[in-house]
């Protein structure tokens, strides 16, 4: 369904004296589920708002299939940014629209809007009784459900979700990821999901984009990223010896034992001695190792 590649080149954005994006390069391929992760203030929301031409940028270029997205109707028709709605953002505007009017407004703008699907999602989330409730009167979780409904029913070839599971209970979060995968299986469109809750994303993100200090640290298939990391545990001498040829991201001493998070090629990691415990890391641990700058693992 997705037509071309969405590309950001040497993107810079600052708010006053604060540089948020610093020469960021990113390429989003069609037909893929991306996880966008980064620490608070890493520039995730700014990046998403710029990729969808909702925000201005200082330098660089954003193109879809080679064409600039800025003020480009054809490009904008293919992009949907379902931003996080928050009870704190009572700024008026569409936040004061009723749920049914909010979705009607969305149907005006998204050319592929799937109204029956939106109805089905409202029922599924138990929001069908809240149709006449103003969006800013909903609970945080319900606002997230409205955001998800908007994103999924938009059927936009590139759909961006900013913190879609914030405020959702664990059952609703599971259901969201199921719906996401079902939709992806059906339409093959591109999703970019920004989230801080990584434990529940196993098997969902095909590729992961890690943002750190305004730059893309990784834009890799999730499996191949995870293959590059191991938590090596054993006697300090043995671990020190085997880690000599690997990039050590963090170290933790526990008596005479040593645990290290290491990064290397799959071949090097496969060659680790069998007597050492070298377990794979999940995405959350990899992210902490890459962006925690040692501050979490070293203090666990």
């Amino acid at each position: 369904m997705s037509e071309g590649t969405l590309k950001a080149t040497r993107l810079c954005k600052s708010y006053g004296k604060k540089d948020v994006l610093r020469g960021l390069d990113l390429e989003l391929l069609p037909g893929c589920i991306y996880g966008l992760i980064g620490r608070n203030g890493a520039g995730k929301t700014t990046l998403l708002s710029i990729l969808t031409a909702q925000n201005t940028w200082d330098e660089g270029e954003v193109t879809l299939d080679g064409e600039p997205v800025w003020e480009n109707r054809h490009a904008l028709d293919q992009l949907c940014f379902a931003r996080e709605l928050s009870p704190a953002l009572k700024t008026g505007g569409a936040n004061v629209l009723r749920v049914k009017d909010y979705l009607r407004a969305a149907s005006i703008y998204y050319p592929n809007w799937d109204a029956p699907y939106a109805e089905r999602l409202l029922k599924e989330f138990g929001l069908d009784k809240e149709r006449k409730t103003r969006v800013d009167k909903l609970s945080k979780g319900m606002m997230s459900m409205v955001t998800i409904t908007l994103a999924l029913a938009s059927r936009a070839p590139f759909t961006f979700l900013d913190e879609p599971v914030a405020g959702l209970d664990v059952v609703a979060r599971e259901r969201f990821y199921q719906l996401l995968l079902e939709d992806y299986g059906e339409t093959g469109r591109t999703f970019v999901v920004s989230t801080h809750i990584l434990d529940e994303t196993n098997g969902v993100f095909e590729r992961v984009v890690i943002l750190d200090e305004g730059k893309v640290l990784e834009n890799t298939p999730t499996d191949s990223l995870l293959e590059q990391f191991r938590l090596v545990d054993g006697s300090a001498e043995a671990v020190e010896a085997v880690c000599a040829g690997l990039k050590v991201l963090s170290k933790e001493h526990l008596g005479r034992r040593l645990s290290c998070v290491v990064r290397g090629t799959p071949e090097k990691l496969a060659a680790l001695p069998a007597e050492l415990d070298a377990g794979a890391l999940n995405l959350q641990k990899v992210f902490v190792a890459l962006c925690g700058h040692g501050e979490v693992l070293n203090h666990e």
Binding site: D77, G92, G93, N95, L97, I108, Y109
Partner: protein, 216 residues
């Protein structure tokens, strides 16, 4: 353009609906009051309708347009479309307000004796249309324009607000029921000059802000 007009139609419909219901209730109250016991509180306040409409026309686009424009942007509208669509929507809204003001004016003239009519003048009711558009343009520029241009638009908003006040005072002065002969003679000239000046400002801001809005 079409999408944005539909969107703003949806947004404004609620506000216009509430105002229309309130206006209709007010008018019915005034009619019943006059029929039963002669002109009273409702009827007297009819004379204030053009002034209330003027205030609403100034405030509503100022607050609502800005928020709705931001939301339209989030729904994936292009800035150019928002600008044009909202401009048209604001104009239609101001016209609706103008019609409401005129209706109140007409009803007041029907129900009240001449000595109770004050501050009612067609010119007073014409101003909202112009200044609603002016203020809207400045606000929208602030939302959609680049941050580096904000200083200019803030200054422009203040300048236009000040100009609005001046025109408002002129309009009320011109609308006063017992002006001096000199003022009566100068009315057409002052009225035309104010309108031309306001229209010129609208046009200038329109072209200036429109360029800013779409520039990245």
């Amino acid at each position: 353009m079409n999408k944005t007009l539909r969107y703003f139609g949806l947004c404004y419909l609620q506000a216009v609906g509430v105002l229309a219901a309130a206006g209709a209730g007010f008018a019915v109250g005034a009619l019943l009051e006059t029929r039963n016991s002669g002109p009273g509180l409702f009827s007297t306040y009819l004379t204030s309708i053009p002034f209330i409409v003027l205030l609403l026309s100034l405030i509503m686009p100022y607050t609502m347009s800005r928020n709705y424009a931001e939301e339209a942007l989030c729904f994936g509208a292009a800035r150019r479309e928002i600008f044009r669509g909202l401009e048209a929507a604001t104009l239609l809204y101001a016209l609706a307000m103008l019609a409401a003001g005129k209706a109140g004016d007409w009803l007041a003239h029907r129900l009240l004796p001449p000595e109770e009519l004050n501050f009612i003048d067609q010119f007073t009711g014409s101003l909202p249309l112009l200044f609603a558009v002016l203020l809207f343009l400045c606000q929208l520029g602030l939302v959609l324009g680049r941050a580096k241009h904000s200083w200019y638009l803030v200054a422009a908003t203040i300048a236009v607000s000040m100009a609005t006040l001046v025109f408002l005072i002129v309009a009320l002065f011109l609308g006063y029921e017992e002006p001096s002969l000199a003022l009566r003679q100068a009315r057409p000239l002052l009225g035309t000059a104010s309108l031309v000046l306001a229209a010129g400002m609208c046009f200038w801001f329109h072209s200036k802000v429109a360029r800013m809005v779409v520039r990245r």
